[in-house]
Subunit: 394 residues, 2 copies
């Protein structure tokens, strides 16, 4: 008998991402490909102090096994922050702490979906969510947007025609498009979803990173039946290396999540959780997030300004009010993977758009990240891409 892997593992497509990443890893490459937070923003000294406090005051609790729902004071802090920022009405009992949002995606798909079930996603949608959901062997229906969120008629049609088990959306500064749903669209969306009673994952990794305009309420504020599971993370506002995220949802869902979490990894690191909570408790989270916003805003502006100046008018792109990404639409005859090859020769890189779709085609899109390069580098990199784009115009 030969070794046989499970079906979902066999179905993981060989991606060329590894090969691309190797090419990009050259030292003089300007990369807009990743989505990494800027390392200079990590509050390393404050974290050292927070750790000292934790290991002095509660070493036994921070270093011992902990509850699978998470560390209560951190759950409480998360609920309070969400209530303030996106107008939810949560208590700690609505929160389960995960090893980053990625685990939340895997966990929630395992909670709601069997093999072959249908999941609704935005067109395009977050690549990492699609690959996580693939482990549960689900099928997808893509719902297009119009720049203000999902098109409601398309949503309703899909819900009518399919037995949908889960909907996945990113309503603030979506990855990859950078688009934010309007308040009205959120309300309309929940009106329809409440009618069909389908659980919704509202993934919100970038919500705090708003550089202008008003904070918009979470889908939960329009959710009359407790269908929305909010995913959040400290990766963009604190430090991704802590691997701290959360699921916030109605307590029945959270109790089920708890059962899964227990069997998946017992709990998220109590050490990381205690350090994070001590940091929130002893330092100024608001001030820190403000400095993150300030840096990323200027980088976004630098990138958009350079694109306005150098990109040919045949290429269009989003103007995100926050988050980390700009989404470009090339003329249909251009293939973003070909453009990427030419760009890599000029020592600049991005992510081609096609992996963000569950359907075939979609070859003329690309995603640009502006969070981890300085303004001058951004300008140089955009200029290089612009040259390639111009050379490929028909």
């Amino acid at each position: 008998m030969a070794i046989r892997y499970s079906d979902p593992v066999n179905a993981i497509k060989h991606s060329d991402t590894g090969d691309i990443l190797k090419l990009i890893a050259q030292p003089d490459m300007i990369s807009f490909a990743g989505g990494l937070p800027a390392e200079e923003l990590f509050p390393a000294e404050e974290i050292a102090k927070a750790t000292e406090i934790v290991l002095k005051n509660t070493p036994g609790k921070a270093l011992q096994y902990g509850p699978s729902l998470g560390y209560d004071p951190l759950r409480e802090s998360i609920a309070k922050r969400m209530n303030r920022m996106v107008k939810t009405n949560y208590t700690k009992d609505n929160v389960l702490v995960t090893c980053g949002s990625q685990q939340g995606l895997d966990l929630l798909c395992r909670l709601f979906c069997n093999k072959g079930d249908t999941v609704l996603v935005e067109k395009p949608s977050y690549l990492g969510a699609i690959t996580a959901f693939n482990l549960s062997q689900v099928n997808y229906v893509e719902i297009p947007g119009d720049g203000k969120g999902m098109i409601i008629e398309e949503l309703e049609k899909a819900l009518k025609e399919n037995e949908v088990r889960l909907i996945y959306v990113v309503t603030d500064f979506q990855n990859p498009t950078g688009i934010t749903w309007t308040r009205e669209r959120r309300e309309q969306f929940m009106e329809v979803v409440d009618r069909y009673e389908v659980p919704v994952i509202e993934d919100n990794p970038y919500g705090e990173l708003r550089y202008e305009g008003e904070f918009l309420p979470s889908l939960t504020t329009f959710d009359k039946k407790g269908l929305v599971c909010s995913l959040g993370t400290f990766s963009k506002t604190f430090a991704p290396g802590m691997r701290l995220g959360w699921i916030a949802a109605n307590t029945t869902f959270i109790e089920k999540c708890d059962l899964l979490k227990q069997n998946m990894d017992l709990s998220t690191s109590p050490f990381s959780q205690h350090v994070c909570e001590a940091w929130l408790d002893n330092f100024d989270f608001d001030a820190h997030v403000t400095s993150v916003r300030d840096l990323y805003r200027s980088r976004r502006d630098a990138m958009l300004n350079a694109m306005d100046e150098f990109f040919p008018k045949e290429v269009t792109y989003t103007r995100p009010e926050g988050g980390l990404f700009i989404w470009c639409t090339l003329p249909e005859y251009m293939v973003s993977r070909d453009i990427l090859k030419q760009c890599i020769e000029k020592k600049v890189a991005f992510v081609p758009g096609d992996p963000f779709f569950t359907s075939e085609g979609n070859t003329n899109f690309l995603r640009l990240n502006y969070s981890c390069n300085d303004e001058e580098t951004i300008r140089t990199g955009i200029q290089r891409i612009a040259e390639v784009l111009k050379a490929n115009l028909k």
Copy 2:
């Protein structure tokens, strides 16, 4: 449409563990129920120093996203330690760092098993492994042991009669029985398994906690076809709150594990990993493990001595050379859950044995933990259990 959860979630049995734990949580209860390491052993001050070193020298790397395989220097340290302790022949490329061993159990079952596949387990086996595997909706065949490891004839029979996709064993100081497989049995086991080419999880959370006798080689040393996946953890030798474990296996398996890990949670906390590696690098792991062994050895002795003195001769039990647990066999007419109820009234608790079996029945076993109570408390608790046992003799 009503909310429907996935089949594995619906299949999670309501356990009475929660109710038992609530009863046990009374302040004057002596609990031998858990399996917690002794908190007084956690090297809190050293961890604070290790964190300081990390956040001074490599804050960017420790707080940023990290590779899903884990932090290379830590992977290297794990491989070297295994090679020294259990005679493996691993390099860092054989190691993937997990969020504790529990995640390794979930990940490996997802790697090898589809719904309905057959997994061989020891009779009895580790409860946490069974509940993790249940998420993949597998079936079980239990293989009895004889105090020296799995009975080889039973193993061979099961492999002949079933299309087995995975075998799960704990060869050192098993949870729940405390039994260690002999060297000869390990060799015989691998001879059979190599013939059938079935992947094996050798879970070894307690291997370092040997209080007497010789360290025995890992199953991998007898594995000619690269079938063994070793699970290890820092939870018992360092601190469970870091949530650091690992899978060690042939590089083909590790590459597949990497694909799963990426989609499950991107990576184990780089912060925890860097702190652990800095601690290994700057402090004396061997000396620390020696102090852990010394404390647990005296507690094991205290428990066994008290059992020898107070328990009725009708009750038999294992004499583990290491680990955290003693396994008791009651006369068949006694039901361990009834005994537990009576014990809780006398303010002493243990875990009944039946959840460690995948078959029904098995009502006359119980597991005792000795790691987190001092010797005097252990003696008092055992005396109380002995009184209940005697009162229940026929």
